[in-house]
């Protein structure tokens, strides 16, 4: 209930401009508004846009809605007045609930409703016929609303759009879609003002620009007291690598026991399952500890959230699934297991604890290995110094634009010039070229195929005035069924034979199981029985060592800012005094046996080990950039006659091993590796195919498949890889391929960051030739052996499999089949590798 306001502070009354019933209501509660709430009111009166930055619990919601409530009380009118958009359905629902209280208590004649994917059809239709004054919705539901032909009429009187959790929307495709819809709303309701509500971010100016292309007043709420952050330093040996945090499980348990209610944040779903199981194994006090992550059934997640809200839980082990959401006043401790990877992310998570603004939030960081201690120290220092981080503003996806253009055509005919002008008002599309816009329109109408036209089956058609309109109701229906920018890898639902759905798991993990295999999921140990009608059927099992499914995505790389801080710590022995003895010792020995990487330049160590030569480069550019670097480096090493046989990337280093010693190291890191080699690799890489699939679905080329959805005919669906290959061969500059390259370059390959790294280190590469492995290299090397090889090793693997088979056949004794269990630490999950020409 009190998401709305804060505890009583002063007893003076509201200033005069407030209507009587509001003054009475505040007075009755003994509340006085915060300065930022008043500032928001002022901005509203001036008709200006605003961005409110305040920590959670700062009364943001009331700040956002107060002007609306007052306006409607003073000037009652029908029709949509205020639109509230949040990334979470649950948040929309919760805010709605919170709003009902003051509306009822002040007896305001205001109707507030929610509209999300869960809203029943009948209610949705009613909302269009008789719009509520306030509508709480999600970006996707808003897009659908804007695609109806009554949209111009519905939104004509809109006064305010409130975007909640703006910081969580502006840096991804969902935000791209929303910003396009905001631009649409600006055309339909030019007088409507925009309000953004956000957590603390590094560069608020970027966020205001995202919110609007006009002037935006930046309002900052009181920051609240400094969070109290501590780092758990174990007394026994710290692991060299691994990210699970299991070594510190007793400390985590003790912290949970001693706190009121805790959220235990972990960085991946797999670790959530592992930590959850591990806590329960030592849960002698039978504490109520729950699990929450994105692959659990929605029903299950709702139950956990409700129990949290009621204060029934002692702790929840969660992933970023709980980064956003309802305020739970009772949470007084946030435990971050594994390095937080970013200072802003840490601060936002800490913000989930303690919503009584005068008391400091408490957080405990649990580094999972020696290197993570440095990351945690850096993160803590960054938060204290209020030096946050965040991705630079993004360029909007062309696939998202395609989805949007089709949506616009469903609502009303549009003129291309006018639409181009409109979309370029949205920050992510400010630099959109006319050519790209035209190509997107071309794609939307006939697929954009230069060599052959689908004239007969156009999806949008031009009228005599040159305006474009959707070709048929069927196309409009297909559009609405396929809305959204979130694409999941193929998942199967997981359920008991006669029982509830537990959640969903990536299809490839299930494919690797045989009946009888056990795995941990949804907090239980399950035995796989078989696949039936697109569901994986399981039963309860007892196994002390079940496999843990690894999920695609989820592991963010270290931010640039944190990486710089870590380099700072490494380069300055005076800063080591606060580190745990084992970590200090590790760094001391590194300094003695080799050297510490400096703040600038690139340290490269080479050393022999077990018949191979190792090259370790400390780039500090994050896992993804290092992964790409590894691919390119090994190609170079191959050409240099070094015979590389593999590589391993971590957030701070790349290690490659070869048969011959690398002696001339600097040329291996020449910037031109980003030319033809990168092109060639990206063309072959399965990464690009995966990205293409997402782009193709978002752009509306192929339809989504939902977990558990039946295939209606055996060959109705086929792998998007096949489409990608054909398109590449015949129209390499097709708009979807351009979108794919842009996505891939930014995301998993992090080419931008790699380019920066290479540019920075030219001429400043320091090569140390050692006679054995250095301490700093140990964590990287420990990973090796758990992974096979990277890159174009498909053929090599097939050859080996065949060879093993032959050896089997020729051996006197039958041999056991070699298979390595996927380890939870693996960064790359077993994937169905599809080759050019292969089929699903």
């Amino acid at each position: 209930m009190d998401a709305f306001a804060s505890a009583p502070q002063r007893t003076h009354t509201l200033p005069a401009p407030f209507p009587r019933q509001f003054r009475d209501w505040f007075a009755a509660r003994g509340w006085a508004p915060h300065a930022h709430q008043l500032a928001m009111l002022e901005t509203a009166r001036a008709g200006e846009d605003a961005l409110l930055i305040a920590p959670t619990g700062g009364g943001k919601t009331l700040a956002g809605f107060l002007p609306t409530l007052i306006d409607l009380a003073e000037n009652p009118r029908e029709g949509f007045h205020t639109l509230y958009v949040s990334p979470l359905k649950a948040l929309a629902v919760d805010i709605h609930r919170n709003l009902e209280a003051p509306i009822a208590e002040m007896e305001l004649e205001i109707r507030a409703e929610t509209r999300t994917g869960d809203t029943p059809q009948s209610k949705r239709m009613r909302q269009r016929r008789k719009p509520p004054h306030i509508l709480m919705t999600t970006p996707e539901s808003l897009a659908i609303l804007l695609s109806y032909d009554d949209a111009p009429k519905l939104f004509a009187g809109l006064a305010t759009v409130i975007v909640d959790e703006t910081h969580a929307l502006a840096d991804n495709k969902r935000g791209d879609l929303l910003s396009l819809d905001l631009a649409r709303l600006a055309t339909l309701a030019p007088k409507a003002r925009r309000v953004g509500l956000s957590a603390t971010v590094a560069r608020p100016g970027e966020l205001t620009r995202w919110l609007s292309d006009g002037p935006v007043r930046l309002i900052e709420g009181e920051p609240g007291p400094e969070p109290e952050i501590a780092i758990v330093t174990p007394t026994d040996r710290m692991p060299w690598s691994g990210h699970s945090g299991l070594h510190a499980i007793t400390s985590i348990y003790a912290a949970i026991r001693d706190a009121g209610t805790a959220i235990v944040f972990v960085n991946t779903r797999a670790f959530a399952e592992i930590i959850f199981q591990a806590l329960w194994r030592i849960n002698d006090d039978n504490l109520a500890i729950a699990l929450h992550h994105g692959s659990l059934a929605a029903e299950q997640r709702r139950k956990v959230e409700a129990a949290m809200a009621r204060g029934d839980l002692k702790a929840v082990v969660a992933t970023s699934s709980l980064d956003l959401g309802i305020d739970w006043g009772a949470v007084d401790l946030v435990i971050q297991v594994g390095a937080p990877k970013g200072a802003s992310r840490l601060l936002q998570r800490i913000g989930r604890a303690n919503h009584r603004l005068e008391e400091p939030s408490r957080a405990l960081l649990v580094p999972a290995n020696r290197f993570e201690v440095l990351e945690c120290e850096a993160a803590m220092a960054a938060v204290k110094a209020r030096e946050l981080d965040g991705k630079p503003p993004r360029t909007g996806g062309l696939d998202v634009l395609a989805q949007h253009v089709l949506g616009v055509s469903c609502s009303a005919p549009f003129a291309p010039d006018a639409l181009y002008a409109e979309v370029t008002r949205a920050a992510p599309y400010a630099d959109l070229s006319r050519r790209d816009f035209d190509d997107v329109l071309d794609f939307v109408s006939t697929g954009g195929y230069a060599l052959r036209s689908y004239e007969r089956w156009r999806r949008v058609v031009q009228d005599e005035d040159g305006r474009w309109r959707v070709a048929s109701k069927r196309v409009a229906h297909q559009y609405r069924m396929n809305i959204g920018t979130i694409v999941e890898t193929e998942m199967l639902t997981v359920r008991f034979r006669r029982g509830p759905v537990l959640g969903k798991i990536e299809e490839h993990f299930i494919q690797a199981l045989v009946p009888g295999d056990t795995f941990a999921f949804a907090g239980r140990v399950l035995a796989f029985e078989g696949v039936h009608e697109m569901s994986a059927i399981v039963s309860r099992a007892k196994d002390s060592d079940p496999r843990v499914p690894a999920y695609a995505g989820g592991r963010l790389p270290l931010t640039t800012e944190l990486a710089d801080r870590v380099r700072g710590i490494l380069a300055d022995p005076a800063a080591w005094a606060s580190l745990p003895p084992q970590v200090r010792e590790w760094l001391e020995i590194q300094r003695w046996r080799s050297e510490l990487p400096g703040r600038e330049g690139l340290l490269v160590e080479t050393f022999p080990r077990a018949d191979r030569w190792f090259l370790v480069a400390y780039g500090f550019a994050g896992r993804n950039a290092h992964q790409t670097l590894g691919m390119l480096l090994t190609k170079r090493m191959e050409r240099a006659g070094l015979h590389p046989t593999g590589f391993q990337a971590t957030d701070y280093a790349i290690a490659a091993w070869s048969l011959n010693e690398p002696t001339d190291v600097a040329p291996l890191f020449d910037e031109d590796m980003l030319g033809d080699d990168l092109e060639a690799w990206m063309a072959e890489s399965s990464l690009l195919k995966r990205t293409f699939r997402n782009v193709a679905i978002i752009a509306g080329l192929i339809e989504r498949r939902y977990p558990g959805q039946r295939k209606t005919g055996r060959q109705v669906t086929f792998s998007s890889d096949l489409i990608y290959d054909v398109l590449r061969s015949y129209q390499a500059d097709h708009i979807l391929l351009r979108a794919t390259r842009a996505d891939a370059g930014e995301g998993l390959t992090d080419v931008g960051r790699l380019a920066e790294l290479l540019a920075r280190v030219q001429g400043r590469i320091r090569h140390r030739r050692l006679d054995k492995v250095s301490p700093l290299a140990v964590p990287v090397l420990v990973h090796i052996g758990k992974e096979a090889v990277g890159g174009a090793a498909f053929e090599a693997l097939l050859d080996e499999a065949a060879e093993e088979l032959a050896a089997d056949a020729m051996a006197v004794e039958p041999q056991k089949e070699m298979a390595v269990e996927p380890h939870e630490d693996m960064a790359v999950e077993p994937q169905t590798v599809l080759m050019p020409g292969a089929t699903t």
Binding site: A788, E804, G837
Partner: protein, 241 residues
Amino acid sequence: MNPGADGSPAPAGVPSLGPPPIGLGGAALTADLSGALWWPARALMAVADLHLEKGSAFARKGALLPPYDTAATLHRLREVILRLQPRIVVCLGDSFHDTDGPNRLDSGDAAALTELMIGRHWVWIAGNHDPEIPAGLGGNVSKEYRVDAITFRHEALLMTKPGEVSGHFHPKAAVRFRGKRLSGRCFVSDARRLVLPAFGAYTGGLNVHDPAIAGLFPHGFTAWLIGPSKVYAFPGERLAG
């Protein structure tokens, strides 16, 4: 990264010259890297499930897939025909994705197809997607085609004498190795019958352990899995479901 780059010999059990032979009905057949079946003694080449004009078939239903699949498939077909120089080419059914397919062929693709047929005995076997091939397309249309002890048809018959070659099922096989799952199109045979992989650019596949395929080989089978530059023979038991 390259097997053999360090000087090691080619793995034992896999012939270093040419693809492994498939014995059927007394004939020595080879599984070509392209997915075509090659019978050297008869200079006969067979391909299955071209599914030409599948892209445009989808476009008709609202999914505007790149219309280049026909060109891509014909290009691959041309490559293998030029390489093997068959006298006889047998297309084992589902050559077109639907009966209207031939009408949607654009002139360039139609000409390319006609050119491939010149000077060769071309057999179109009717499939379930294309039960009728228009006469204007040229070639000889038939439900089955027999040469020596080998019978070519579109879909395997449960009860038939040995020596059957068919398509329809788009088989693919997966090998689990070192925690990875490596999969690809394949030929499947038990020396009594043989099922070819789908040749078309947009053809999806069915795992060989699916009952629809495995049921045709009650006493087990071998799969010839098509890799990036080699074809690998694996016994059925070694393959993942």
